[in-house]
Amino acid sequence: MLNKIYDWVDERLDITPMWRDIADHEVPEHVNPAHHFSAFVYCFGGLTFFVTVIQILSGMFLTMYYVPDIKNAWESVYYLQNEVAFGVIVRGMHHWGASLVIVMMFLHTLRVFFQGAYKKPRELNWVVGVLIFFVMLGLGFTGYLLPWDMKALFATKVGIEIAASTPLIGHELKVLLAGHPDIVGAQTLTRFFAIHVFFLPAALLGLMGAHFIMIRKQGISGPL
């Protein structure tokens, strides 16, 4: 049945070359943990992507209950965590995944660094990787405020003060982030929500696309 549907579509749109081009590649021996167990270090990039997919999915579902308003944010998080079936699991996935994605990304960075895999011709992919690192830190920073509890509020106050210490444009940067010269409040929460849910994920998807296209184009770096 499924085969018939596939053939019907393939006959009209010729989709086989599309997925072949994306998926049908042999893993080089020196990268395959089935051949050399030590090759597991090559998995961290893929694991980062895997956790990122979990973050996007669990985040999408969290917004079904979450409200980015200072009167209701904490209440809505409390509700989804304690009243909604599996709320504690879905929020837990997003909470722990946020830390895990940083850990995996860091291990991936260490592997690339110590294997010297960033060297010519892969310098640009290292640069894009560092940009992804910053976007991920931004996602962590903005997401931390959203539950609107004491820890979130004061962590953000400190973070915004750090941004304000930037030379020359510090004050403007602070107001741009907080949405108000003095208050970390209603406008800060909506801004952080927009940045966390729309702006940074869009940047992240674009950068990850570039990251993967470059790997495909250049291949994985050879054995040490």
Partner: protein, 167 residues
């Protein structure tokens, strides 16, 4: 005018780039202006907020003065409570210091943690002298902000904290 006038292809390239750029700017300009509005709105005028502290009661020992006022945060209005450490200096002038640490924004207290004659911040052991001047070698790099002060009916009024210029 040169002998080679603009070719048809060049003309179309220029016009399409111009029109395309105009359309892109027309889309982006409202969105960017929308996003940076808080930066361009500027600071609100600092009104004086009344406190319950009698000016006559102030001595050369800093006292904690809590005061509340209505704060408008966009669509959300609430009553907030702020704190000042207030005393009279050698010249008899009222000094009201903001308790917000200039290191990372924690709250300092007078003679906290048994630091005699100093303001102490518990987060990273920041210290300030009585004048609000940061003690060198501790994390804060600037003196505590000062509130502009006023007096009405014998009671202290405080404005919006400003950078402290004591050297």
């Amino acid at each position: 005018m040169s002998k080679q006038p603009v070719s048809r292809r060049q003309f179309l390239n220029y016009t399409l780039t111009g029109v395309g750029g105009f359309m892109a700017a027309g889309m982006l300009m409202p969105m960017v202006r929308f996003a940076v509005d808080p930066v361009l709105k500027g600071e609100a005028a600092g009104d004086f907020h009344p406190t319950q502290q009698k000016v006559a009661d102030l001595t050369d020992v800093p006292v904690r003065v809590d005061f509340s006022y209505e704060q408008v945060d966009a669509w959300y209005t609430s009553e907030v409570t702020n704190t000042a450490w207030v005393y009279k200096n050698d010249k008899g002038e009222i000094v009201a210091l903001s308790p917000i640490c200039k290191h990372l924004g924690c709250t300092v207290s007078w003679e906290g943690n048994d630091h005699a004659n100093q303001f102490f911040c518990p987060c990273h052991n920041g210290l300030y002298e009585k004048s609000g001047k940061n003690v060198p070698g501790t994390p804060p790099l600037k003196p505590l902000d000062v509130y502009p002060t006023a007096e009405k009916d014998g009671l202290l009024q405080l404005g919006k904290p400003e950078a402290n210029n004591i050297v």
